[in-house]
C-alpha cells in the first residue's frame, strides 16, 4: 500500500478518529523523462538564485507574492503555523444528501483509512461506516491539504470512508456568457430527439471503457523500441451543422431500427398543463419543492426543467 498523502484526524462532534488519506486514483499514465540527447543521461532541475547566480537549497526558499507591485515573502514555517487545526483535522460540520450536490463540485477522490492501535477510535470509524452506510447521507467537512483549503464530502464506499475534495461554489463560473442555443424545440422534434436518446440508452458500465490513448501511447513506445517509425494519422474532417434536424433524427432512428437500447423507462413526454402556477416560483422555491418530492437529478436542473419534473410528478 503506498504511503499516505496526509495523516490527521477526522472529528465528528467530540469523537476524534486518527486517519490516513490515500488517493483513490492510481497513476497509469505513460510518463516521460527529460534526457540529455548526447549521452542519454537524466536531466535534473536545479534551483538558482537569479541575483547571485548560484544553486540554492530548498530550505533557503520562501513563497513570494506580488501584492500590488510589492513582493511579500512568507516562509514555510509562517504558512504552516497560520491555522494548525485546519491542517490537522477534517472537521465534519453537517450531513447532507448526496443527490443535492451537483457532480460539477466534486474534485479528487481519496480513501480515509483508520490508523493507530487504539480500539476506541477504530470503533468510532466503524460506527460512522455503519450509521452512514445505509443512507444517502454525506458528511460535509473541510481541511487544508498542501496550503489549499478544501470542502470535502465523506461517504461510505466498499465498507470504508471515502473522501472527495470539492470545489467551492465561488470557484465555479456562472453560465451567463455561454450561448444556450436557439429556439425552444417544437414538440414533435423534441419527441423524436427523446426517442433517439432512449434508443441509444444503456446501463452505465465503467468497465466497458478503456483508455485508448494510453494503449496507443504504449504501442508507440514499443514500436520505437523496435526501431520503427511512427506515422501520425490524417486529421478528420469537421462535419457541418445539421440544418434539417427532423430529417437527421428520423434517418438515425431508422438506421437504429430494432437495435435500440434499454428503451424508454419513464412515460410521459411534454410539459402537461398545470405548470402555470409553478412558473411563477423562483428556482430556489422550485428546487425546495423538488427536494421534498425527491426528484432525481434536481441539482443540475434549470428552472423550466424543475417545473416540468414537478408537473409530471403530480
Amino acid at each position: 500500500m503506498p504511503r499516505a498523502l496526509w495523516n490527521g484526524s477526522l472529528s465528528f462532534g467530540l469523537v476524534n478518529v486518527p486517519v490516513a488519506l490515500h488517493s483513490a486514483v492510481r497513476d497509469l499514465d505513460v510518463h516521460f523523462h527529460q534526457l540529455h540527447a548526447k549521452d542519454g543521461a537524466r536531466i535534473e532541475m536545479r534551483r538558482f538564485c537569479s541575483e547571485e547566480d548560484r544553486e540554492v537549497d530548498l530550505d533557503e526558499i520562501g513563497s513570494g507574492y506580488d501584492l500590488d507591485g510589492t513582493q511579500v515573502v512568507l516562509t514555510d514555517d509562517e504558512l504552516e503555523s497560520l491555522s494548525p487545526a485546519r491542517t490537522r483535522t477534517i472537521e465534519i460540520a453537517s450531513f447532507v444528501d448526496l443527490a443535492d450536490i451537483d457532480p460539477l463540485l466534486f474534485d479528487h477522490p481519496y480513501w480515509l483509512v483508520p490508523t493507530g492501535e487504539s480500539q476506541g477510535p477504530l470503533r468510532a470509524y466503524r460506527l460512522l461506516v455503519e450509521v452512514m452506510g445505509g443512507t444517502e447521507r454525506v458528511a460535509l467537512g473541510r481541511f487544508v491539504l498542501r496550503t489549499k483549503e478544501h470542502l470535502v464530502a465523506v461517504r461510505v464506499r466498499d465498507g470504508l470512508l471515502a473522501l472527495t475534495t470539492m470545489r467551492f461554489a465561488d470557484e465555479v463560473r456562472d453560465t451567463d456568457g455561454i450561448d444556450a442555443g436557439g429556439r425552444k424545440p417544437p414538440k414533435e422534434q423534441l419527441d423524436q430527439a427523446v426517442a433517439l436518446v432512449d434508443a441509444l440508452t444503456v446501463d452505465w458500465d465503467p468497465s466497458a471503457y478503456e483508455d485508448r490513448y494510453r494503449k496507443r501511447l504504449q504501442a508507440i513506445v514499443r514500436k520505437k523500441q523496435q526501431g520503427q517509425t511512427i506515422k501520425a494519422p490524417a486529421q478528420g474532417e469537421q462535419p457541418s451543422p445539421t440544418t434539417d434536424l427532423m430529417a437527421a433524427l428520423r434517418k438515425t432512428l431508422d438506421e437504429l431500427g430494432g437495435r435500440g437500447g434499454r428503451g424508454p423507462s419513464e412515460g410521459g413526454a411534454g410539459d402537461a398543463d398545470g405548470g402555470q402556477e409553478l412558473d411563477r416560483l423562483s428556482r430556489d422555491e422550485l428546487y425546495q419543492r423538488a427536494r421534498e418530492a425527491d426528484v432525481p437529478g434536481r441539482s443540475s436542473m434549470s428552472k423550466d426543467e424543475l417545473v416540468g419534473a414537478l408537473t409530471r410528478g403530480r
Binding site: 462532534g13 536531466i43 532541475m45 487545526a85 433517439l196 436518446v197 440508452t201 452505465w204 478528420g236 434549470s302
Partner: protein, 256 residues
C-alpha cells in the same frame, strides 16, 4: 458578454451534428506564490542540468524518454506522442446515453461548459432538452490538448457541462487497502446515539454557504507581513481525544 472558448468542435450523435464551444467552468481559489531566495528576495530560476556531466544543458539538447528498464530509455519525439491522440480531433462522438444518476461521482475528473457553436443553436437546444427530459448524460470520446478523453456530457442550468472521465482501472478499490480490524463492533446504543447525532446535524446542502476561509487567512498574512505587523494565528479547539465512545457521543449531542 460572450465568454471566450478554449475549443470549438462538434457533438455527433447519429446523423445529427451539433456545433459547440468549450469554456472554462472552474477557477481555483488557490493563492499562487513564486519561489524566492529568502536571503535577497530574488526570484528562483529552474535550470536543466545533465546528471552525468554535471553541467547546464540548453533546451535544444533535451529529448523525451520512456524508461523501459532501469536506466534504459526509448526516445520519443513530440510527433510520436501526438500520433497517439487519434484522428478525429474536433468531434465528440456520442456512443450512447446513460442515466446520469448511475454515474458515481468518483469517475468525474475535469469539467468544462459547452455552449452552442456557430449555426447550431437549435440543434444544441434540442439535444440539451432531450437529455434533460430523461435525466440522461451522453458518453463519448474526444481529443483535447492532444489527448483523447472519455467524456460525459450532461445538462447544467441552461447549457451543457462536459466532464473528462477517469477509467475504471485507474480507481483504487476499497479492498486493495490495508485496514486494521476493530476488535469489538459498535454496540446498539452507540449506533443509535450516532444515528441521532447524524440526523441532528442534517441540513439542506447550500453550496454558496461555503467559502475558502483559509485563502482569506493567507491573504491577511500577506497584508500583515507587508505592513510589518504580526501574522495572524488562528486558534481552534481541536477537542478531546477520548476512548470512551459513548460518553463522547453523548457529550456531542448535548453540544449540538
Amino acid at each position: 458578454m460572450a465568454a471566450r472558448s478554449l475549443w470549438n468542435g462538434t457533438i455527433a450523435f447519429g446523423a445529427v451534428s451539433v456545433p459547440v464551444r468549450l469554456h472554462t467552468a472552474v477557477d481555483s481559489s488557490t493563492v499562487h506564490f513564486h519561489e524566492v531566495h529568502l536571503k535577497d528576495g530574488a526570484r528562483i530560476r529552474h535550470r536543466r542540468f545533465c546528471s552525468k556531466e554535471d553541467r547546464e544543458v540548453p533546451k535544444e539538447e533535451v529529448v523525451r524518454g520512456y524508461e523501459v528498464r532501469q536506466d534504459e530509455y526509448v526516445v520519443v519525439d513530440k510527433e510520436d506522442v501526438d500520433a497517439a491522440a487519434g484522428e478525429r480531433t474536433h468531434i465528440i462522438d456520442v456512443e450512447h446515453f446513460v442515466d446520469a444518476e448511475q454515474i458515481d461521482p468518483v469517475f468525474y475528473d475535469r469539467a468544462y461548459f459547452l455552449g452552442a457553436g456557430k449555426g447550431g443553436g437549435d440543434a444544441f437546444r434540442l439535444l440539451r432538452e432531450a437529455m434533460a427530459r430523461r435525466g440522461r448524460a451522453a458518453i463519448g470520446r474526444f481529443t483535447f490538448h492532444n489527448r483523447e478523453y472519455l467524456a460525459v456530457i450532461r445538462p447544467y442550468e441552461d447549457v451543457l457541462v462536459v466532464h473528462t472521465m477517469r477509467f475504471a482501472d485507474e480507481l483504487l478499490h476499497g479492498g486493495e487497502l490495508e485496514v486494521p480490524e476493530a476488535g469489538r463492533k459498535p454496540d446498539e446504543r452507540e449506533v443509535e446515539m450516532a444515528g441521532r447525532l447524524v440526523e441532528s446535524l442534517h441540513e439542506d446542502f447550500d453550496p454558496a454557504a461555503h467559502h475558502d476561509e483559509y485563502r482569506d487567512l493567507i491573504m491577511q498574512a500577506i497584508q500583515a507581513k507587508a505592513n510589518g505587523s504580526d501574522l495572524p494565528v488562528e486558534q481552534r479547539d481541536e477537542g478531546d481525544r477520548s476512548d470512551d465512545l459513548l460518553a463522547a457521543l453523548q457529550a456531542s449531542m448535548k453540544g449540538s
